[in-house]
């Protein structure tokens, strides 16, 4: 067994807060550059340039890429040979609050969703998973709410055709329209249960965007991406051929009576960072 202290976890989460919010993911930057190079609409091209300039300036000045530094979502994959000394959940929440404060991010979290009231930095959402090994992998996804507000879930009949599912996903992107900061990364979860499909959709945003010649995207994803990019929503919704940078679909076994499908859209500022302890 390997011992890892809660203090170490707290500090690791605090550092992830800075990394995720200041340094745009490399795969996202590469995808944005590719979109910029391919974009023919003049206005869309200028917006993509501003997005890339913004990422460079944020990195240089250690400023948040976007003022909506999100609701923190922490995925903790804990090796079954690890013993945690201290309180894991408290360490993650304290680490997040500490990092958001340290790096002058935004206190966007209200304690009571109905009464609202004064906003603070935490808590975050924590998903723990027990995995093999003697390490802990922590991943922070800083999810802005402009795009989170556009999430959708539908429980399809098990006899539904793939085309109906595709239409639902495309419709979700259409209804997000210009509001959620396109070009998007469209996360899709298919299968499991209602809650699990939503989690799969969110987790799929952590997958590296494939832009190289050896793309792993399957036909389902490729077809969706092509059709979404024909919607002419474009950067800021002002037209262009880049409405989405990628479509990521994650599936899981499901029940004979159902077919849950969830869509979780990310804005172009798809921010996450990981560390292994």
């Amino acid at each position: 067994m390997r011992r890892i202290s809660a203090i170490k976890i707290k500090e690791a989460v605090a550092e992830l807060a800075g990394r995720a919010n200041f340094f745009l993911r490399k795969d996202v930057i590469i995808a944005l550059r590719k979109a910029y190079a391919a974009e023919k609409n003049k206005r869309a091209k200028a917006i993509l340039k501003a997005i890339l300039d913004n990422a460079a300036y944020a990195k240089k000045e250690k400023l948040a890429i976007c003022q909506d530094t999100g609701m923190g979502i922490v995925f903790a994959q804990i090796g079954q040979e690890v013993i945690i000394r201290g309180n894991l959940k408290a360490a993650i929440n304290k680490g997040l609050a500490c990092g958001y404060k340290r790096y002058s991010l935004r206190n966007s979290i209200v304690k009571d969703p109905l009464a609202r009231g004064k906003s603070g930095f935490s808590p975050c959402i924590t998903h723990t998973e027990i995995v093999k090994g003697n390490k802990i992998k922590l991943t922070l996804l800083a999810k802005g709410f402009g795009c989170e507000n556009k999430s959708q879930l539908r429980m399809f009949k098990p006899t539904a055709k793939a085309e109906e599912i595709k239409e639902f996903i495309i419709e979700a992107v259409k209804s997000a329209g210009p509001d959620a900061c396109p070009p998007y990364v469209v996360g899709v979860g298919i299968g499991g249960t209602a809650d699990y499909a939503a989690l799969l959709a969110k987790q799929s945003l952590l997958r590296k965007i494939q832009t190289g010649p050896r793309q792993t995207a399957n036909r389902f994803e490729k077809d969706l991406l092509m059709r979404i990019n024909k919607l002419n929503i474009g950067p800021m919704g002002l037209g262009g051929s880049n409405t989405a940078l990628a479509v990521h679909v994650q599936t899981y076994p499901t029940h004979i009576a159902g077919l849950p499908v969830a869509v979780n859209i990310s804005c172009h500022a798809l921010r996450s960072a990981s560390v292994v302890l």
């Binding site: 917006i47 501003a50 913004n54 003022q67 206190n107 906003s119 509001d179």
Partner: protein, 175 residues
Amino acid sequence: MKKINTPLSLNKIRSLKAGEKLLLSGTIYTARDQAHKRLAESIKKGRRLPFELKDAVVYYCGPTQTPKGKVIGSCGPTTSSRMDEFTPLLLAQGLKVMIGKGSRSAEVRDAIKKHRGVYLLTYAGCGALLAKHVKKAVTVAYRDLGPEAILKLEVKDFPLIVALDSNGRSIYAKD
């Protein structure tokens, strides 16, 4: 690119056309969800507002905390449509210019035309870059709302695109 300064005269506002790019300098006020709710309540109760709404420019923005040594943190636009239910009332009280991101409701489009206002877009998801254009930031109201407090900003060459002009024209194809 057209450079404009606050306060914006009625003639100036009427000259702005959907699709046009602008650089704005002068005074703007941040206000988002909770600030709008409070402003609307104050108007309905006939109370005095914390800033002069007449001919004002309102920016739908809630910046991050201000890093040490900086004027403001990251400060990009938030989704404008969440303010739609309050906007016609504010326009009726004299608000002229709004800055945000995304589309607006049919009611807001009609109210903008009726009151000869204008709705502008700025680069969405580019809050770090936009911070460069803010020269001064002072909290003027609702400090308890934290990032949703109303700030008075002095901006220089703030980049904008006209989305809905005073003649009812829209930059969005679907409108």
